[in-house]
Amino acid sequence: MRHLGRTLAVSALPVLCLLALAALIQTFAEPFQVRLAYAFFMNLVLALGLQVFMGNSGVVSFGHLGFMGVASYAVAILTIPVALKATMIPDAPFGLAGVELSPLVAALIAFALVLVLAFLSGFLVSRLSGAAAEIFTLALLVIAYVVFTAWIDLTRGQRSLYGIPVTSGLGFAAAVACVSVVVARLFRDSDLGLQLRASSEDTLAARAMGVHIGRLRHIAWVISALIVGAAGVLHATYLGAIGPNSFYFSQTFLVMAMIILGGMRSVSGTILGVLAISVGNEIARTLESGPVVLGVDLPEMFGLTGFFLGAVIVATMIWRRDGILGDIEFETLFRRRKAPSKGGEA
């Protein structure tokens, strides 16, 4: 924790910007814009969670949305009023149909559940590397999705669970996002984070230096799962209704595009990517419905948002493989460049 002070100092800039953005939107914006901003902060938390694992270990994970789903479903099932549960999921196992907790307690239980699941699955993930690790995380996502859709007594399957008390707001989401930024930066700058990043660049050299890669991956996996779980709590407590399809491949690819575009190896890159994709996605969604732009009536084009996401991923991979920021953070951008070879053009 030698870098604690420095890390807190350099995280101040993005944190203050995010808080200012939230305050501006909360004060001046229309309700639908507040909803968009909420989605932005939620996706930011999700992306930061993914960044902690993928960005530091270099292993692509498709499985994290499963943790988000677990947290969302846990909060939903624990907070929905008993009367409503009697009609939706009367046969819930473990007597859950008769349980109604406050959102805070429910969120804590959700975190505990994610912690246990991540800790257990982490033993297996940390044993694997390369394609085997990636297919394993993919298997985790499929397993989670199948459980969400097939355990009808508990989750209502494909139909959504509704009636979750709406207790979250933009300010809370922004606060969670800021905490996530700090946690992600703390991990990245810590000795553990540095060793893990080293192992992703040269496994052999890192191992020769005595880096315990498996253990580091396990730690990163658990931390990132908890952050992703926080996104799940934000999801359930704002929307009030959840369904299994929010925790599957389409959402995974959305977040993937975000961290790829910005540069998953830096926290700042992740923030930038989430911002860029959120804005771009909204523009694509507007164009999709066939608006009138400058007097020209555009045709409806469903599929444009998806096309946009795919194009962003491919374009980034072809022209700027490490994302916009690569592995540099905001503060480096403002520092005077000493040598152009190590500077902005990563």
Binding site: R127, E134, I135, F136, I143, I260, G310, M317
Partner: protein
């Protein structure tokens, strides 16, 4: 009872063959360019729309339809290589895989934009839907033909790899591409042929997939390629015999679960299958037939 078991075994072989064909296509590309081509599934979709559109412009002959479908997916595979994958050729595994995901999302949404999200009915030759009687037992023609076709395709591939110059170049490229190029073999040619073969195999698999499903929609390629990828990793990524073995095992295991699981557990079939896949990976990280590579080995 024996009849039922035999029928289910043929069924298992047929499903396994479908996965094996797709997995083989993934493996042959991976073995040469280290690319996990997730856009492979979209080749099936391309075949499907080829069947749909050529039937719409009154191509009546079923054989001609099949040939067109297979041709389209083969050409589409080569086109993908040229347009998207050539520019990331020497990149890391992750870059390749994410690019392929991106390409797959683009193709899916191009179909959404220009065709529609709704499934479209696709015609395949009528004889595939019939029942054949072998030794007093009744089997669907589709399953028998699928298994036999896969066997023939694998044999043809073995012959190609073993007794032609390009096959030799491909086998060598899988081990050491640089040396192959030093021998004067054109890299682009070897890679193009690998993609053509993968497209051809996907096209063949597509014909059977559509005989079973009867309809095509933009997102249908994802599940088959997911299964094929799993099959590849189980068998050992990049190993061609591994891909066939993995495909057969996965298909048979799925049919086995379908037969054995009680009705109320049937919904969990994929979860059980993927749990077993995860377990296999933890026990055999290199896959069943993959080479065991130590960190720092020259030939990785």
């Amino acid at each position: 009872m024996t009849e039922y078991i035999l029928q289910q075994m043929v069924n298992a072989l047929a499903v396994g063959s479908e996965y094996a064909l797709l997995a083989l296509g993934l493996a042959i590309v991976y073995s040469i360019v280290n690319l996990v081509n997730f856009a492979h599934g979209e080749l099936i979709t391309v075949s499907g729309y080829a069947l749909f559109f050529s039937a719409a412009v009154w191509v009546q002959n079923p054989w001609l339809l099949i040939a067109l479908a297979v041709l389209c997916s083969t050409l589409a595979a080569a086109a993908l290589e040229r347009v998207a994958f050539r520019s990331i050729r020497n990149a890391s595994l992750n870059t390749g895989m994410l690019t392929a995901f991106g390409v797959s999302i683009i193709i899916q949404n191009v179909f959404v934009i220009f065709v529609a999200t709704r499934p479209r009915a696709v015609q395949t030759p009528a004889f595939l839907a019939e029942i054949v009687t072998i030794g007093g037992l009744r089997f669907p023609v589709l399953q028998v033909v699928e298994t036999l076709t896969t066997a023939v395709a694998i044999l043809a591939l073995v012959v190609l790899l073993r007794s032609t110059t390009i096959g030799l170049a491909m086998r060598a490229a899988a081990r050491d591409f640089t040396t192959v190029r030093l021998m004067g073999v054109r890299a682009n040619r070897v890679i193009q042929v690998a993609f053509l073969i993968s497209g051809l195999l996907a096209g063949i698999a597509a014909v059977f997939i559509f005989s079973r499903r009867g309809a095509v929609d933009p997102f249908m390629g994802f599940v088959p390629v997911l299964k094929a990828f799993v099959a590849c990793v189980i068998g050992g990524l990049g190993s061609l015999p591994g891909a066939v073995l993995g495909g057969l095992l996965l298909g048979m295991f799925e049919v086995f679960l379908q037969v054995v699981l009680p009705a109320d557990a049937a919904a969990y079939r994929d979860a059980i299958a993927f749990s077993v896949v995860g377990l296999v990976l933890v026990l055999y990280p290199q896959g069943l037939l993959g080479k065991r590579v130590e960190l720092g080995d020259k030939e990785a």
